[in-house]
């Protein structure tokens, strides 16, 4: 199984003067996965990606791509969109795309043909002979995106791919990424926008302050962190509903709207028991749903707590 990992990171650590950006991080991205690297700003996402790209060298640990030690010899199999976008501003668009493809080892003639096709597809055909400087920011982003995927990489590494795009372009990029994934490409992308990750990823890894908080298949993650939320719609019927919702052995937190309530169950409480209690109280239950939490909720629960404990540790250390 390990042989089919496109990215295999084992215990990498990267220190910069003054702070540790990534601590003992291990990651495994299987072939064909769409993998989300999630974390708040400054969590170490970009540092991790730069180490995968062999731009930074980890102080400890090992990174393998396609089953062998990551080297630039593999770069033609990888498409990389860095967080800080940048192009030669004075070059003509077509020349630039062809040049970047050539640095990945694509023969010049193929590169030209492909570049033209992609520029057509993303609506930049009329701009092929213009200088990058003359393009709008959105168009420059598209050009950079094209040069990331032109050489048909098996692995796409996208650092905050959708930041700075308008909704229309985000849609176009998303479609292309999904299409490439369907054709078998492995995608690793970082983001701090959970809604995107939730829709695109089949696996995620959440990191905070350089440490892994959680990873796994998205469905698995949701199952592990789900089942604690219940959405209720009911007619109180003068019964003892408020006292049930304030029973701390059963309900940790309730957001009561009168006819509707969102309930977070107490740890180890059985949702089945809540339903029984409600029925017994002679309230009329019209909806009882064990809700799957959003990735956003999981993220905030985990990372919020993580950040809080780290803060407390620091405070304790100072005292």
């Amino acid at each position: 199984m390990r042989n089919d990992l496109v990215i295999d990171i084992q215990g990498i650590t990267k220190r910069f003067a003054g702070h540790t950006a990534v601590r003992q991080l291990s990651l495994a991205v299987p072939r064909g996965a769409v993998y989300g690297l999630l974390g708040p700003n400054g969590a170490g996402k970009t540092t991790t990606i730069r180490m995968i790209m062999n731009i930074l060298i980890p102080d400890e640990g090992v990174i393998s791509l396609f089953g062998s030690r990551a080297t630039r010899g593999l770069s033609h199999r990888v498409g990389y969109l860095p967080e800080e976008r940048g192009l030669y501003r004075k070059m003509r668009v077509l020349d630039l795309v062809v040049f970047l493809a050539e640095t990945k080892g694509v023969p010049r003639r193929d590169a030209k043909r492909q570049a033209q096709a992609w520029l057509d597809r993303l609506g930049l055909a009329d701009w092929a002979q213009k200088r990058v400087n003359d393009l709008s920011k959105g168009m420059q982003q598209k050009v950079q995106f094209i040069s990331t995927i032109l050489h048909e990489p098996e692995l796409l590494i996208l650092d905050e791919p959708f930041s700075g795009f308008d909704p229309v372009n985000t849609q176009i990029m998303k479609d292309v990424v999904v299409e490439l994934a369907r054709r078998g490409a492995t995608v690793l992308f970082s983001t701090h926008i959970m809604e995107q990750a939730e829709k695109l990823c089949d696996s995620v890894c959440i990191i905070a302050q350089g440490r892994k908080v959680l990873d796994g298949r998205l469905a698995e993650v949701k199952r592990q962190h789900g089942g604690r939320h219940v959405i209720l719609a009911l007619d109180y019927g003068g019964g003892s509903v408020p006292s049930i919702l304030s029973d701390r052995s059963l309900v940790a937190k309730a957001d009561d709207y009168g006819q509707y309530a969102e309930v977070e169950l107490a740890p180890s409480a059985d949702p089945q028991r809540l339903l029984e209690e409600l029925v017994r109280s002679s309230a009329r239950v019209s909806r009882f749903e064990i809700a799957e939490p959003t990735l956003n909720k999981i993220f905030i629960d985990l990372v919020g707590r993580e950040a809080a404990t780290a803060k407390a540790q620091e405070d304790g250390g100072d005292a």
Binding site: M53, N54, I55, L56, R72, S75, H76, V78, Y80, P82, E84, R85, G86, L87, Y88, R89, K90, M91, D95, F99, L100, E102, T103, K104, G105, Q144, S147
Partner: protein, 424 residues
């Protein structure tokens, strides 16, 4: 290797397509044509006619003899005025006004006493022109000499025979053979070699710096280093800009050669009488000289380009790079400041030393070569030292470059730089 080639081609094509490249490439030969034509045009026109007054204080023999000579073939229009010593002040006051009004260039105050004490005074608006003053002084010296000799009884015909001027012709000997070039043209060649190398190394070296800074500030570097080794990038860049340099120098060289060959025709087209061109000979450039200049240009360019690239990699912006380049430029300026010393004594201790020191030799050695004969052993030693230094500098620069291109923010301290080199 293929990837380096890709980088070279991009660097070359983008630079050659740039409008500044086109402008400077076209402007070069035009300037050269100007250099060829202008001196001849100037020589033809000759110096302009000067109008002066000779004030003879106390009416004497000396002033009239002087006037005789001044009235000769010289571009001078002299008038004699005789005054008493008491009237001199009034006279000069009024002449000052005339000179101020530009209807007179100046006036010369002489008396017979000048023959004994050698004192004459010239006041005028052209007193700061070395050519005018030299001419005037020569004439006066001749008259004073003749006067002094004839006072002690020397026959004037003997005096005039003694005054036939000496003309020494200088011819360069190179490699044991007599050349047909004069000493002056060797000097001219050495001077041209110095100017060419200094400008070329600086010009193209700074272009490498600009190119590195551009990649860094535009952040395109991040994509580049994900597919290229920093060394591939650096090598491609340096070679690419170097190729642009050779291309441009080639264009200039060929057009200069054509201009020199077709000088007569060019002058004809411009309507300048070509007969004036005879006296002004362009130095011949031998094949060996050409090769030496080329070898040192390449070695020197690579040496400085590597340093400029390292400087650029440490900087965050164009402005910062321009500041940080000062020490590198200084290295190049040292041989330039000592250039006159090399030209005057191409075999002197200083010239020999400079042509062995690696950071100076790319300029110092070709200049020496152009000015005089350089022993083969010295040439070999100079090239060997330079090549060895080049390897070391490229090694260090590549390491600084490798770390520096991805660093943003504070400029590194010397200690940090040392760590970059050690870790890189």
């Amino acid at each position: 290797m293929r990837k380096i080639w890709v980088v070279i081609r991009r660097e070359f094509v983008e630079k050659v397509r740039n409008k500044w490249f086109i402008i400077s490439t076209v402007l070069g030969p035009l300037l050269m044509a100007g250099f060829v034509v202008l001196p001849i045009v100037m020589a033809e026109q000759g110096p302009s006619q000067r109008k002066i007054v000779v004030i003879d204080v106390g009416a004497g023999e000396f002033a009239s003899r002087l006037l005789e000579l001044l009235g000769g073939a010289l571009p001078l229009d002299a008038t004699l005025v005789q005054v008493d010593a008491s009237q001199l002040q009034t006279m000069t006051d009024s002449l000052n006004v005339v000179v101020g009004a530009k209807s007179l260039d100046g006036y010369l105050i002489v008396s017979d006493a000048a023959v004994d004490d050698g004192r004459v005074e010239y006041r005028g608006s052209n007193a700061s022109s070395p050519a005018d003053m030299r001419m005037l002084e020569q004439v006066i010296r001749q008259v004073v000499l003749v006067e002094r000799l004839s006072r002690v009884g020397v026959d004037p015909s003997v005096v005039s025979r003694a005054q036939i001027p000496l003309r020494m012709q200088t011819v360069n000997i190179r490699g044991g053979r007599l050349t047909d070039e004069s000493g002056q043209s060797a000097f001219l060649l050495a001077y041209a070699v110095w100017l060419l190398l200094y400008i070329a190394i600086l010009l193209y070296g700074v272009q490498v710096m600009g190119s590195v800074v551009e990649e860094k500030t535009s952040r395109v570097i991040e994509v580049l280093v994900s597919s290229l080794r920093p060394f591939q990038l650096l090598a491609g860049k340096v070679v690419g800009v170097g190729a642009v340099g050779l291309f441009q120098l080639g264009i200039w060289g060929v057009s200069a050669w054509l201009l020199a060959r077709q000088r007569g025709r060019v002058l004809q087209v411009l309507g300048v009488d070509a007969s004036g061109a005879e006296g002004f000979r362009l130095p011949d450039v031998s094949l060996e000289t050409l090769v030496i200049v080329l070898v040192y240009f390449l070695l020197g360019y690579f040496l400085y380009a590597a340093m400029f690239a390292a400087v650029a990699a440490m900087s965050n912006s164009e402005a910062e790079a321009r500041q940080a380049q000062t020490p590198v430029v200084m290295l190049l300026i040292v041989p330039t400041m000592l250039m006159l010393g090399i030209l005057q004594q191409p075999d002197g201790t200083m010239a020999v030393t400079l042509s062995l020191i690696p950071f100076c030799s790319p300029i110092a050695m070709p200049v020496r070569w152009a000015a005089a004969t350089v022993p083969g052993a010295e040439l070999a030693a100079s090239i060997a030292i330079l090549a060895l230094t080049l390897l070391v500098v490229v090694w260090i620069a590549a390491r600084i470059y490798r770390v520096g291109i991805l660093m943003h923010g504070k400029r590194p301290t010397p200690q940090e730089l040392l760590r970059w080199v050690r870790v890189g």
